[in-house]
Symmetry: C2
Subunit: 335 residues, 2 copies
Amino acid sequence: MRTAGRPTLEAVARRAGVSRATVSRVVNGSTTVAEEIREAVHRAVAELGYVPNLAARSLVTQRTDSIALVMPEDANRVFSDDQFFPGIIRGVSQELEAADKQLVLMLAGSPAGRERVARYTTGRHVDGVLFASLHAADPLPALLAQLGIPVVCNGRPLDGAGLPYVDVDHVGGVSRAVDHLIGTGRRRIATIAGPSDMVAGIERLAGYRQTVAAAGLSARVAVGDFTRESGAAAMRDLLAQHPDLDAVFVASDLMAQAALRTLREAGRRVPDDVAVIGFDDTETAAYTEPPLTTVRQPIQEIGRQMTRQLLRLAAGGSIEPALVLPTELILRDSA
Amino acid sequence: MRTAGRPTLEAVARRAGVSRATVSRVVNGSTTVAEEIREAVHRAVAELGYVPNLAARSLVTQRTDSIALVMPEDANRVFSDDQFFPGIIRGVSQELEAADKQLVLMLAGSPAGRERVARYTTGRHVDGVLFASLHAADPLPALLAQLGIPVVCNGRPLDGAGLPYVDVDHVGGVSRAVDHLIGTGRRRIATIAGPSDMVAGIERLAGYRQTVAAAGLSARVAVGDFTRESGAAAMRDLLAQHPDLDAVFVASDLMAQAALRTLREAGRRVPDDVAVIGFDDTETAAYTEPPLTTVRQPIQEIGRQMTRQLLRLAAGGSIEPALVLPTELILRDSA
DNA sequence: CTGAAAGCGCTTACAG
DNA sequence: CTGAAAGCGCTTACAG
């Protein structure tokens, strides 16, 4: 690729008849430059089509004006039609756009991917790192934080390292859902839980357990991994083991959609025979058959808040160690 | 943020008792370094936890090892549960990961967003630019190409600038779909087209028109913009204007899903009263009610091919100006 | 308010 | 095979 044509600060300075320092000041919006000089510089910039070389700027400012969003997941999971990660990306983009920063997206499902993330982020190529999800006690976030890189996680980190995070009120949402099932007369309430190595899986299951227990009901649990296939398999298991169930709380909309289909195939009517409640309130929920009652979590807002926290941190400010966003029960036809 | 702790090449050189040049060679895998010196350097790197500063490297190499994926769309469109963009992102990520490059994601739905993209990409912060979609005769890709920045587009650019692109065989796919409808006895075949400022919208409509015309049938057209809401509205229009229709080819799965629901609400049975065929074959298609017959396009493969082309271009190689991937009719229950 | 100069952390001809 | 030196394109104290 050519470097040839691209004008540098130097060229602008010559053209405007000023020093490089002055051009730099004007380009960076310093107000201490005389009006007419500023105009001359702007003219030269326009005439030459000057655009600052960001690598050079980064080298001296030690800032890159970009941040990384790490998704420690399989590409399959991230870009199935699960709306979770896209929602996070969208929230992050919005805040970043407002702050005029760039988004570097990093998938890190494989060991090689994690290696790349570590290398890249510790290489100071970004001003901070956002983790879109976390599995088990992933050491990477704490490692980065230790190297002085600002880090914010989605979901409370399970390693207890005290990193800042944004999360939602899983337990409150689930218990409202289960209470709704109980309140409408259901007594044999099962759950399809999320993965047990993720805080979302753990907490939603805990919410279910404590709510059924509080009502004196027994728990019936099958476990999925938030994918549709796992939801269908879990629903089949539940039907086999607890053929008398009359309701199921499913820890994600996608798994719930699969559960609805499995129930239909098994000849169970929803909600007449079995009531179903999901979790997420992604767009899919309104288009299932029947439309899905679900616990809404503000996915996009999670992305936005994480980003705000990170930018504050990167700017040297201090932030609250945890932000917990509310959840809400959305009633449709499935329960 | 601190610069303090981070070791530089200089530090490694001192520790290993060699020059910076030598360290640089070892770090970059040059083979012309004596075995024992190389080992000493590696040891020093490990002991110090040295990671190259990428901005400094970029400044001299004029490469950034990252590429931008631009989505000139509303965030709404990109991250609704339309699987199109996520599929592209996924394909791009995979190829980039293999090439050890970074992905910078840029939404550019708004004028301000487009401005940012122009500034950022012309600022040489990336080695090349991928356009995930294009509207009307967008001048941005040609502008970048003119500045010497490698560009590859998804879909044939409508400005006729001759930029390299990757696309799918829209017309072939659609005509197979419409022929299938005709072959199964449908005669009053409508279409819900995509946006008329996008090549995918234009070509799929053209494929529909020429196939019904070839069969001596008349066209019934409503236009959507690939979102579900637009699909529902278009379906209502079609029912109002052509209550006798017995089939509809819908230019995207998401619009088709909405059309299915609208038909159901209108009391039409699918496929008995009205046959429906979509386009995309995203995961959603298998989960609609009834499961959707659709034209599959290899979305992820589009992303991969675009990326390969771009990397070749960025490496100074030459590429084919156009790559057209095949489409395939997937039969399910809706037609 | 403006400029000369140093320096950010690398890579790469060029000698030897 | 290795090192001294120049240079990539910026920003920022420091003087004046």
